[in-house]
Point group: C2
Chain length 503, copies 2
């Protein structure tokens, strides 16, 4: 066996363990009886340990170092093709990243996040930040330590960003997010000063079974295929891949607002399509792994917002929806439905917010977590800083900490530098979408006729099929000719919402 | 760490892997998309390999041989208690058994059964035994080889029996099964010559949702607790334990015969109760494992037949059932329902047969598989031998091979010596039941009032809580004072069916 084949063999075992770990997670969220929490934790730990042992073990290192120079990154096997060389570079990055964190640190961090998550739940219930503050202190301290282990050039937060979106730094993100703030804060202000669209017809009883019938029709646009997927129900929708041939999504049902279910399922449908389109012949290698969290998010946002909240999409689907809900929507015209679906919201909660508030929520978190890590913001001052920024960015004042800085689980889980990937996903999606529309100037007409296949093929060819062959930066350049920039996203939002709020 | 603690630690890892393997199986049967069969096979193989490596590895052997003499079975650590010593004896048996089969043989056998199962399906579809015969030839040949590896005294089939019910031999089973034949063949003949009970009311539409509502009420008698269990739907009902805190069962729905669902779920409920009652504090050791397939079957048959097809059980539940199905059962009196539920059947299919035909089906398979292994019966002569015995034992002639010797998957899966455990389960159950009724002479009255707790406690105390502390032979002796015998089972069947067919 060649050292490259040996790596592939080890990679397959690791990827298989990861798929099993995703089944454990899927089952835990959808079906597992509550009394099994303890045994499930032990199962999760064992599979994680077995995967980690393989990914950071001597066997992997030996095989890897025969293929690529671990110090310089120079590929040693000239006979490999470009994809294989790219796979080696990604494997090397993963291996070096994994080896930087000492095992006792990982274990201590895991124990802390487990304790912190539990206490975050209690604090959120009690609406009391001070209940959670001591844990956040320790989390920030350990995350600083984490950044030191991982290494960085300018800002310790860069090390954490890099874990979630490789090659991304505060130096790159700050101006992007600054542009969003400068444009979107005043734009949103001007919109909410107007009389918004009516969305009251969405807020009435919609029976769950009929909601799901429509939801399944909608997600078929993303190519969702029950031969290779399952749809479950959870309070927090998610997507979990056991293998490209078995990708599972979940959605939620609000019996008085079907859009929550439908947009969530389109979002997860975008994740589904990415995972299901990964090239199975490279299973076990980085070529059969999604590029990054942010690129993944570009695919979910594509289907949830760019397509799923667009007029052409509903031009095709709305007649079916009206048939399923004649009482609720029979008298509501298509354009009224579409406007209502896009009405801005005044909720202080990120996950329930609207398309313009959402990126501002993310920028707010980015501003704060960056300063928490650098020490420019003290943990005790977080609620005040949060609430001030909520008013500044969104003109919304949280009534309590649970509506404010305690609303998200991410920081309790030890995820710092993760939030930005949500909005980077929006930026990628909008920039990809512009390129797509140049190739298909008639795309809106085709979508309005229920033709989605050409779009799925384009996404597969441009994004999915490459796995991690290209970096995010290379990918956006290949597809659009430019580095990531805020303009396509801003143009999209401004044109769309100016039109919706002009009527 | 003491060597015993080390064994427990290794045992926990093995048991956790087995639990994960059971989740993979559960998911595969209930939820997995069909297109994931290939990736699931790889996941199954990996977990099986990891478990096998641990159970037969040097680490386990070293720790084990410090605790117990692998040659003589003498426990070396006198300070251990009786339960721990029993655990060591069971671990040693498992280890020696596992080491007898060379890995290449196991792999070759697994590959053959996989191919054979596929071809069994095709042969059954085509109703053609000759399509399957070449695979059965090879399976029999390898099973003889298996018996040679495992070792035996009198009959090669003993080695295979021992794998499924330790300590059982043809010398022990043949007279038990002979007694069943001698009594049950003429008894069944005499019954079917009479006008049987009416069961037509069971064969009409029963909506699935209402069937399941009743099914959930019935299985609560077995103690089924949704906090530690899940009920799924599959065409072949089964029970799968991930851990004593997470035991899953499935049932089937025949929209025109609810008894199929209800009795299947009571059967699986018996398995559920055994697994859920195993002592979690011993998880990872044989003390937290069910004794054997046959003893497991005694628990499922207890709830399915001795209780679930009894008049006291339905005295309590039937009024609820009538309320759920007023149209179908409102005019059917309790005793008519109970008789109809126990009507004998003329199907040639084991899984749809009745309480008296069932053991004769098993004896038939035992007779044939024993002779196939010894060479007394040639594979090509199997269909003729099968059909002749069907007529001799049951007065039923299969119309084709699919209704005959191709009806069961077991032999294609490489399971020889497994069928007898079904009827051994009936024998254990009936013998336990006699002892139980001696302790609780008023049990029928209590059951008729919906009191099942005392019965569950008795089963837990007598059977479940011991895990594998006692051998099956010791267990039946402890509980009933006697070795396993046919009389309690025969008395039960004859008294019950004489009464039902006398009316």
């Amino acid at each position: 066996m060649t050292p490259f084949d040996h790596l592939v063999q080890l990679g397959k075992e690791i990827a298989t363990l990861e798929g099993i770990s995703h089944l454990l997670q899927w089952d835990q969220e959808t079906l597992m009886p509550q009394g099994a929490a303890g045994s499930r934790a032990i199962q999760n730990q064992l599979i994680a340990k077995l995967a980690h042992e393989r990914a950071s073990g001597k066997g992997f290192e030996n095989a890897l170092s025969k293929c690529i120079d671990l110090n310089t990154g120079k590929v040693l096997l000239e006979e490999l093709n470009e994809s294989q060389k790219a796979a080696l570079r990604e494997w090397r990055d993963d291996f070096l990243q994994a080896s930087k964190l000492p095992t006792p640190f990982i274990e201590k961090f895991a124990a802390l996040t487990s304790e912190a998550t539990e206490n975050w739940r209690l604090a959120r219930q009690a609406k009391s930040f001070s209940r959670f503050a001591p844990f956040l202190e320790r989390l920030i301290e350990m995350s600083r330590q984490r950044a030191e282990y991982l290494g960085y050039q300018d800002h310790p937060f860069d090390a954490l960003l890099d874990e979630h979106e490789k090659g991304t730094t505060t130096r790159k993100i700050t101006p992007l997010f600054q542009a969003l703030k400068e444009e979107l804060i005043p734009f949103r202000k001007s919109l909410i000063s107007k009389k918004g669209p009516d969305s009251s017809f969405l807020h009435q009883p919609y029976p769950a079974a009929s909601q799901m019938k429509v939801a399944r029709a909608l997600i078929s646009a993303c190519g969702f295929d029950p031969h290779h997927g399952v749809i479950g129900l959870t309070s927090h929708p998610f997507c979990s891949s056991l293998h490209p041939t078995d990708v599972r999504v979940s959605t939620r049902i609000d019996p008085k607002d079907p859009s929550s279910n439908w947009l969530a399922l389109l979002h997860e449908g975008g994740h589904w399509l990415y995972e299901a389109n990964l090239p199975t012949e490279h299973f076990g290698t980085p070529l059969c792994q999604a590029r990054s969290t942010a690129v993944h998010e570009s695919q979910s946002k594509w289907w949830e917002t760019l397509i799923g909240q667009s007029l052409p999409f509903w031009t095709f689907f709305y007649p079916q929806v009206q048939k399923s809900f004649p009482k609720q929507l029979g008298q509501v015209p298509l354009k009224t439905f579409h406007r209502g679906l896009n009405a801005l919201s005044d909720t202080p909660i990120r996950v329930s917010s609207d398309e313009i508030a959402y990126p501002l929520h993310i920028v707010l978190r980015y501003d704060l977590e960056k300063d928490l890590i650098s020490g420019d913001l003290a943990v005790r001052d977080l609620p005040k800083a949060w609430n001030a920024k909520m008013v500044e960015y969104l003109q919304i004042e949280p009534k309590n900490d649970s509506e404010g800085c305690l609303q998200d689980i991410h920081w309790a889980c030890g995820l710092y530098g993760y939030f930005p990937t949500y909005t980077l996903g929006n930026l990628y999606a909008a920039q990809f979408f512009e390129a797509f529309k140049k190739t298909y100037p008639d795309s809106e007409e085709r979508v309005a006729q229920g033709d989605f296949g050409f779009m799925r093929s384009w996404l597969k060819e441009q994004v999915h099929t490459h796995g991690r062959k290209y970096t995010s930066q290379e990918l956006v350049k290949r597809i659009t000719g430019h580095a990531l920039m805020p303009d396509p996203y801003l143009s999209y939002l401004k044109a769309k919402y100016a039109a919706i709020y002009a009527q």
